[in-house]
């Protein structure tokens, strides 16, 4: 009996694992093996678990990426404006490194990809190029190794997600659209505007203006330019995320505003020469930047701003070129170095 018992336990557990694994592979909630099944509705709401599967398995010829600043873009609008079939894969709190790696995997997996729209977060341009927002990533989903897929197919949380997709389908749900995916507008409804923002914002202490030093552009070189150079056949639409005037207030209080504006100019000079780059900045649309109704905090803007950015990118408005960037930088300098930041706080 004991021998039979041992054999029964081993075989029984292997059978259990086989059933679980099969269910997960068939449903594949993270699209690691295949596209979403047409007969199932999938909730797409786990960026770092699903983005990789999306870029490898879905059909698309354009992608929108970035951090939460890009999360409110609507791919339906992009498709109308650019004539594309786009996806959106954003990384909340992400650094350039993980976004670049995802784009590389997309390019490797999808030869049809021709347009990449990437919102470059203004405040992380000059940070450590290897910065990642989190300690643990499901790297077993990012590689082609089958061996470490045990972490995926024998995973209780993935099993729950698979089963919840089944239940969601039965209840009449639909697969999350890319307009909806990562979009945080509804969650922050009612939190826009000056009063709400200033409640959350802590104005930094005033410091002396720092002397100029050369910018550390390794993040830009390693994570942006390397991509651009390696893929001359892809069109890159970069834009500096249009943070609110409060960000500039913060830089001004910290004594780094002038440096930052000069560094921005250096980055523009680095990126512009490439023919496959369309580079945009909206910091000279001062009425937008200073209108707090557009923001829920000092950096996150309403989805109508995302729509406006897409329209500009399609028409070329606010595009920086070798011919106009000096004028842009000068307008920017004149405005932000002379702005009355204290007036923001006056009632």
């Amino acid at each position: 009996m004991e021998k039979r018992w041992c054999e029964g336990v081993i075989i029984g557990s292997l059978l259990f694992l086989f059933c679980v694994g099969t269910l997960i592979v068939v449903i594949d909630p993270f699209f690691h093996y295949h596209k979403p099944l047409k007969s199932l509705a999938y909730r797409i709401n786990y960026e770092r678990y699903q983005n990789d599967g999306i870029v490898k398995q879905f059909d698309y010829d354009a992608m929108i990426t970035g951090t939460s600043s890009s999360a409110n873009f609507k791919t339906s609008e992009m498709d109308k404006l650019f004539g594309t079939h786009a996806i959106k894969v954003c990384y909340d709190g992400g650094g350039f490194k993980e976004i670049r790696e995802n784009i590389e995997r997309a390019i490797a997996a999808n030869p049809d990809l021709r347009i990449i729209v990437w919102g470059l977060d203004y405040n992380v341009l000059f940070i450590n190029p290897d910065y990642t927002g989190y300690k643990e990533y499901p790297t077993y989903l990012y590689d082609d190794s089958i061996i470490n897929d045990v972490n995926y197919i024998f995973n209780s949380a993935v099993l729950r997600k698979s089963l919840s997709n089944l239940i969601y389908t039965i209840k009449g749900g639909h697969t999350t659209t890319f307009d909806e995916y990562s979009n945080w507008t509804k969650a922050y409804n009612g939190t826009f505007g000056k009063t709400n923002i200033l409640k959350k914002y802590k104005r930094p202490e005033k410091r002396e203006i720092q002397t100029y030093r050369e910018p550390d552009t390794e993040n830009v070189e390693k994570n942006i330019l390397s991509l651009v150079k390696a893929n001359p056949d892809k069109e890159f639409y970069f834009f500096l995320t249009p943070y609110s005037i409060l960000v500039f207030d913060g830089y001004n209080r910290a004594g780094i505003l002038r440096n930052y504006l000069l560094w921005e100019k250096e980055v523009i000079k680095m990126i512009l020469p490439y023919e496959n780059v369309h580079f945009f900045s909206f910091f000279d649309e001062f009425s937008m930047i200073t209108n707090f109704d557009n923001y829920r905090d000092k950096g996150h803007y309403h989805e109508r701003i995302n729509s406006y950015l897409l329209e500009c990118m399609a028409t070329g408005k606010h595009r920086l070129t070798m011919e106009n960037y000096e004028d842009y930088c000068q307008r920017e300098w004149d405005f932000y170095t002379n702005y009355d930041y204290d007036a923001i706080y006056k009632k």
Binding site: W5, F16, R48, V150, F154, N155, A157, L159
Partner: protein, 474 residues
């Protein structure tokens, strides 16, 4: 490598077991022990290969030292015995002090005005266990109790992978006779069944129950000021459950693995949270450590007294449990933990000695409160945070009920109703369920076969989970 990992379960252990029995059934069955030594060193090195020389070096040096003591015993050379024994104690305790306590001493010297740069040494995994195992062996050699000096068996005794990282602490007397017994190197289906069931129970305790509390406990202990009274107590109790199920689960796995190889190693837990007093608690919690400290500290201190008085017993208990406390780590919170338990033990002795009134239920509650207090000290990152946790537990940050969900939380594996349900399940198991050892004594049946098969599969799928990436505020 940990027991609760895909590599261990699907690759390492099946291969080790298969080869062990194949060698055991061959003409040179002693190679089975050599194989276990190799496997154990591989197991240790898999975690961090740079520490493998430390383990090997410790084994070789202690083997040489024990050889010196034993040759002194043979020749009747007491001086030689004393020198080698002293050398052994100095080496082993020195190693432990160096890696575990040096930075603590440096920090405190610097607080008093010193300027010594900290060493920032990484604590080698298992160093406390393989050091104390060898100290006990040297003690037994010195006392004339240990005589076995085969190198392979000694190396296996120290490095045996089921016990190497987290105990139980082994005794040479119990192990050496087993290592010598050739009949144990052949498969025994009874032991395989009991070992497998104990492993599965331990595995489930660790990955299904203990690990489910990790993120909830982390959130609470990282920011105790966000906790109200009830949530503070829930967090502390959750940690008590996490600690028990994690440690006892790992011990069950260790005992189960050894049993599958026909080797009996000491059990480490016997329903400690059902103890009605602190002395009984420590006789049921990490039992091998209590026994080791009794042999290494309590008995020598007690024997140093001329008369065996109650005071001598109390003092020896205090010292022994103080050592138990600081053995767990280097820091003032461990000193506080040590003081809490050693004072509690002294009080317990007084209660027993003077036969003061103590109903069983009250005794259990008080014991659990002391253990809870010790757990808070143990878990908190610092003395200061432990203090904040205690303050939260008396309602210092608010009364009422709130789950410690903060905007800074990075991971939440349990939310909503799941956490209270898991906590209730854990408490019920602790209070009502038979201990693991009692469970495996039951005869195998088809029902238990199905149950354990599902439990094993269910536990395996709990090795991986999903991390919720909650966005930091801008």
């Amino acid at each position: 490598m940990l027991f609760n990992s895909y590599t261990f379960i699907f690759l390492f252990f099946p291969i080790v077991l298969f080869v062990y029995f194949r060698l055991g059934e061959s003409r040179r069955s002693d190679w089975a022990n050599v194989w276990l030594v190799i496997a154990s060193l591989f197991f240790y090195g898999y975690w961090e290969v740079s520490f493998l020389p430390l383990l090997i070096g410790s084994i070789l040096i202690n083997y040489w030292i024990s050889g010196g003591i034993l040759s002194g015993k043979e020749s009747g050379n007491v001086q030689r015995q004393k020198i080698f024994f002293g050398l052994g104690l100095t080496f082993n305790l020195g190693l432990l002090v160096w890696y575990k306590y040096m930075d603590f001493f440096i920090r405190n010297i610097n607080l008093l005005g010193g300027d010594i740069p900290p060493l920032h040494l990484v604590l080698p995994l298992g160093i406390s266990f393989f050091t104390i195992t060898q100290v006990l062996y040297l003690l037994d050699c010195y006392a004339g109790v240990a005589k076995d000096h085969d190198f392979v068996n000694y190396a296996l005794f120290v490095s045996f992978f089921p016990h190497l990282l987290s105990g139980p602490i082994l005794y040479h007397k119990q192990m050496m006779t087993q290592f010598r017994d050739e009949t144990l190197r052949r498969p025994n289906w009874g032991n395989l069944a009991r070992g497998l069931s104990l492993f599965i129970i331990g595995f489930a305790k660790k990955v299904v129950i203990a690990d489910s509390f990790i993120s909830y406990v982390k959130v609470g202990f990282d920011k105790p000021e966000s906790l109200t009274l009830i949530s503070a107590w829930l967090t502390a109790i959750a940690y008590m459950m996490q600690l028990y199920f994690d440690f006892s689960g790992y011990s069950d796995m260790a005992v189960g693995l050894a049993r599958m190889m026909n080797l009996e190693i000491p059990i480490n837990f016997n329903a400690p949270y059902r103890a009605s007093n602190l002395i009984t608690f420590w006789q049921r919690w990490h039992m091998s450590l209590t026994n080791a400290i009794t042999a290494c500290v309590y008995m020598p201190v007690l024997r140093s007294f001329k008369k065996m008085t109650f005071g001598a017993v109390v003092f020896s208990s205090f010292v022994a449990f103080f050592v138990v406390g600081i053995w767990h780590g280097a820091g003032w919170k461990y000193v506080a933990f040590a003081l809490l338990h050693s004072s509690g033990i002294v009080l317990n002795h007084l209660w027993r000695h003077y036969h003061w009134w103590m109903p069983k239920t009250l005794g259990r509650v008080l014991t659990l409160l002391v253990v809870l207090g010790g757990s808070v000290l143990f878990r908190a990152e610092s003395f200061r945070l432990a203090g904040k946790m205690f303050y939260a537990m008396i309602g210092g940050y608010g009364m009422g009920m709130s789950l410690p969900v903060t905007k800074d939380a990075q991971m939440l594996s349990l939310s909503g109703i799941q956490f209270p349900l898991m906590l209730i399940l854990a408490v019920i198991l602790v209070i009502r369920c038979p201990s693991s050892n009692e469970l495996i004594k039951r005869k195998p049946s088809y029902t238990s076969m199905v149950g354990f098969a599902i439990l094993l599969g269910y536990s395996i799928i709990h090795l991986s989970s999903i991390t919720e990436f909650l966005y930091f505020q801008f």
